[in-house]
Amino acid sequence: MIKFVLNRFLLSIPTLLAILTIVFLIARVIPGDPASVILGDSASQEALENLRHRLGLDQSLIQQYIQFITGVFRGNLGDSLVSGTSVMREVLNVLPYTIDLTIAGVLIGIVFGVPLGILTALYRNSFLDFIARILSLIGLSFPAFYSAILLIIVFSLQLGWFPVISSGNLLDPVQRLHHLILPACNLGLIMVAYVTRATRSSMLDVLREDYMRTAKAKGIPGMVILFRHALRNALIPIITVIGLYIGVLVGNSVLTEIVFNRPGLGKLIIGALNQRDYTMLQGLMVVYSIIIVITNLITDLTYGFSDPRVKYS
């Protein structure tokens, strides 16, 4: 088992390296000199030279690459061009907000999506199934920024239950949670839709399996059959789907953070884009890559633990 975990962990390192290389190349391959893009057409030759030196663009590509990679592994993503502070520090300042939001979104997706998926599979083609399918279709096709605005109008402005600007003090757990609920629901809605669909179809497959009949023939109580025999098997593909959609969720969290005016990676990335903060953008791409690689690793490990056929082969 330790071997399995270690194995998957080591396997994700080359993946990460490959992504980092791509991030590095994208920044260099894009036509045009970053320095003149940042400073504009009217910049003096001297200023351009200066900036190139600060960015390390006057070095050879190989040197730049080595510096970039070693920097990443040492946790150094360079300094922001705009504020001059370390990119890493800026990221760490807002990362808890984004992590809160993403985890809450996934949890909402699982807590509502899995039971809903089970029910719609058990009572397929019933009225409940019909309603749930329409709702999940709406959930899937609804743009995240639009649902965010609707949520703010109803729950913040009209009912006044939640703050309009969801920042929240990280050190005050109650406030942190209170500020989290609305944006998390916005993110979670889509996840609920995905998870419901995945659970439903996975459950329907499992319910048709021969071993379900075997379990029933043994005279095991219905609830035990449902949870131990059916759900345990159905979870395996559901985990994969959840893992895949966490990537989508991270993308949606950018929109959610902006509409709710909530600190986070999403707001950082928009700010960097607006201000042409080249190092900040590159640093954020690195951070997002690491998040995705870690998510995949966790998905892989969970998958391995829920399916004995993976672990031992």
């Binding site: 399996e209 021969d210 071993y211 009949r213 075997t214 379990a215 029933k216 023939a217 043994k218 005279g219 095991i220 109580p221 219905g222 035990v224 131990r228 025999h229 345990r232 098997n233 395996i236 829920s306 399916d307 004995p308 056929r309 031992y312």
Partner: protein, 334 residues
């Protein structure tokens, strides 16, 4: 009931809904099983053997299936009218089933040992430790090598033959009185088939169980069964003690089946096969189901189905055929 059987099925009809209409998959099944007895249920693929067994266990998938009529008495209690919770306590406990497909009938994410233990946990008042002990004991009995070590293994770590042993262990864990074995050896290769059959026969004797053994292999029937019921198109067409059936089959379909069994003492030219195939349940002929394939068929056969009646002087040998069995009724018909 003049004499109480361990299991008695009367007039059982189970139908499936296909595009809104109910079509019987098995019809008017009458059979009984006594203590220590093995009844073989034989017939071609699709004739309703599995559906009969699943109906007895009340395991018909519903929808699309439905038990339309009939009674299934076990020691005088009609199982079909029992509340589901009481039926659950019978399944796997008093009456257990072994399925055809050992590869897909075990749950891939639960250990083999746990799957054997499970029936014990829910049917018998035992602690987990005791259940585990009993499970290992029965794994030894079905001759799974190094049982206590393999207890924690998963189904994919077992071969087909071993999985069928696990299935047998699971079914026998609570020492049921009746075992329904649905082609337990069909999916296995020939040498392993013989081992499993031998094991099943041995355990059946040891536990003094009664067994309904489903197969389409008449060769197996001769060695394992006391009585044989031949099914065709969802009906029982002939029932007889095993010797009688092999020596003097009455139904034209049984005769055909027997002629289709490969024998070492006959060469291949003499081996006959049965032309045509079992009609699907939504295309059953209105009269005798076998009539379209029968050499002896008369006009009446196409019009009306015969009843399963005993032969004169042989109450245990019953046949559903206008020509060979139900002759007394031919006279009444215009």
């Amino acid at each position: 009931m003049n004499q109480e059987h361990l299991l008695e099925v009367r007039n059982l009809t189970t139908a499936f809904r296909i595009q809104g209409n109910l079509f019987p998959a098995v019809r008017g099944i009458d059979l009984h099983l006594d203590r220590n007895e093995t009844l073989a249920l034989v017939g071609e693929s699709g004739c309703g053997k599995s559906i009969t067994a699943l109906s007895i266990m009340r395991l018909i998938p519903q929808p699309p299936g439905e038990i339309v009529s009939g009674e299934v008495f076990m020691k005088g209690i009609d199982l079909l009218t029992l509340p589901e919770e009481r039926m659950r306590k019978i399944r796997g406990n008093k009456m257990a089933m072994i399925f055809q497909e050992p590869m897909t009938s075990l749950n891939p994410v639960l250990t083999v040992g746990f799957q054997i233990m499970e029936a014990l946990i829910y049917h018998q008042d035992v602690t987990n430790v005791k259940a585990k002990e009993l499970a290992i004991e029965i794994m030894n009995q079905v001759k799974i090598p190094s049982a206590s070590r393999r207890f924690k293994d998963y189904p994919h770590q077992f071969s087909g033959g071993q999985r069928q042993r696990v299935m047998i262990a699971m079914a026998l864990a609570c020492r049921p009185e009746i075992i329904l074995a649905d082609e337990p050896t069909t999916a296995l290769d020939v040498t392993i088939q013989a081992q499993i059959l031998y094991l099943l026969a041995e355990l059946k004797r040891e536990y003094s169980m009664a067994m309904i053994f489903i197969t389409h292999n008449l060769g197996i029937v001769a060695s394992i069964a006391d009585r044989v019921a031949v099914m065709y198109g969802g009906e029982i067409v002939e029932v007889a003690p095993v010797g009688d059936l092999f020596e003097k089959p009455r139904h034209p379909y049984t005769e055909m089946l027997l002629r289709a069994v490969p024998r070492v003492d006959l060469n291949i030219e003499k081996l006959s096969y049965i032309p045509g195939q079992v009609p699907s349940i939504d295309r059953m002929p209105p009269g005798c189901h076998y009539a379209p394939r029968c050499d002896l068929r008369m006009e009446l056969c196409d019009r009306q189905d015969a009843d399963l009646v005993p032969l004169p002087g042989e109450p245990a040998h019953r046949v559903r055929c206008w020509i060979r069995g139900d002759s007394r009724e031919i006279q009444d018909k215009p």
